[in-house]
């Protein structure tokens, strides 16, 4: 049985997990409320940061156009 600390470490991996690691993690999550909460926290963060980013990075097309034109002007003057 892995510890919470190991489970948290595995939950933070960015590569594909091996079948063995997956099983160890699933077993741990089944009986451990703490790590299940931790996992749900990470999921909430991902979702809500994505929402926030899509809000703050909305740009209007005319502004983009204007910016492109400025850059292109520089190219054409070169």
């Amino acid at each position: 049985m892995i510890s919470c600390k190991e489970a948290v470490e595995i939950l933070n991996r960015n590569e594909e997990l091996s079948a063995f690691e997956k099983t160890k993690l699933e077993l741990h999550l089944k009986i451990c409320q703490c790590c299940e909460s931790y996992l749900k926290h990470l999921e909430s963060i991902k979702k809500n940061v994505s929402n926030l980013i899509s809000k703050i990075s909305t740009v209007d097309e005319s502004q983009v156009r204007e910016l492109e034109d400025k850059v292109l002007k520089k190219i054409n003057n070169n």
């Binding site: 703490c34 299940e36 909460s37 749900k40 990470l42 909430s44 963060i45 809500n48 990075s57 190219i75």
Partner: protein
């Protein structure tokens, strides 16, 4: 750039040649294609609108300056994002590389007892969700991240880019990227959890 990640030619020889020769219509196509992405990326990094616009212009200036040496070993977008990230770090005067230590590493450690079990349970997931759903809270917590961690997190979790590509943009190894992502996630989690506890 990191050699072992960059040894494949990913751009067609014809296009590469046009870029290197600074062919005007090719450059125009590229500018029209990627300016919006660059602007959105700058805003995602937390820059205000006019700063973001300046950053995008500076990115293009560097690109136009260097494109005769562009080797086509990464996608144009990856290459541009790399330049943008460098310019953004300069503007913020932040270190691009991984810091050896970060207070969050110790904070995460203190959450566990000697056998590696959680000392206190992370807060109720529904309550956590409620707090993180508030734009004000999540914005404050995201703004508290250093640029390298924030960028790593956004490229991975929001844009869903491949690890290799993110490493190319940030110019770090995948081990370093993993550390940055660990720190970003756990800082966000601790920040939001403390807000949840503070408000009650």
């Amino acid at each position: 750039m990191i050699g072992y990640l960059m040894n494949e030619q990913v751009i067609s020889p014809t296009l590469l040649e046009k870029i290197q020769l600074k062919d005007k219509s090719t450059l125009e196509t590229i500018v029209r294609k990627f300016t919006k992405d660059l602007l959105r990326a700058s805003l995602s990094m937390g820059f205000k609108n006019d700063e973001a616009q300046d950053l995008v212009q500076n990115t293009w200036t560097v690109f136009l300056d260097k494109c005769n040496n562009f080797q086509g070993k990464s996608q144009i977008k990856t290459y541009l994002f790399g330049i943008l990230y460098n310019k953004a770090s300069e503007l913020r005067r932040e270190i691009k590389k991984l810091e050896r230590t970060d207070p969050i590493d110790e904070i995460v450690n203190t959450r566990f007892d000697q056998t590696g079990e959680f000392i206190n349970s992370p807060i109720n997931p529904d309550r956590f969700y409620q707090i993180s759903e508030s734009l004000t809270h999540i914005h404050q917590c995201l703004d508290a991240l250093p640029l390298n961690q924030r960028t790593a997190f956004c490229l991975k979790e929001v844009d869903g880019l491949e690890t290799k590509e993110i490493c190319n943009i940030l110019n770090v190894s995948d081990t370093h990227l993993n550390v940055m992502l660990f720190r970003a996630r756990n800082k966000l989690r601790e920040c939001l959890e403390s807000k949840a506890k503070g408000i009650k």
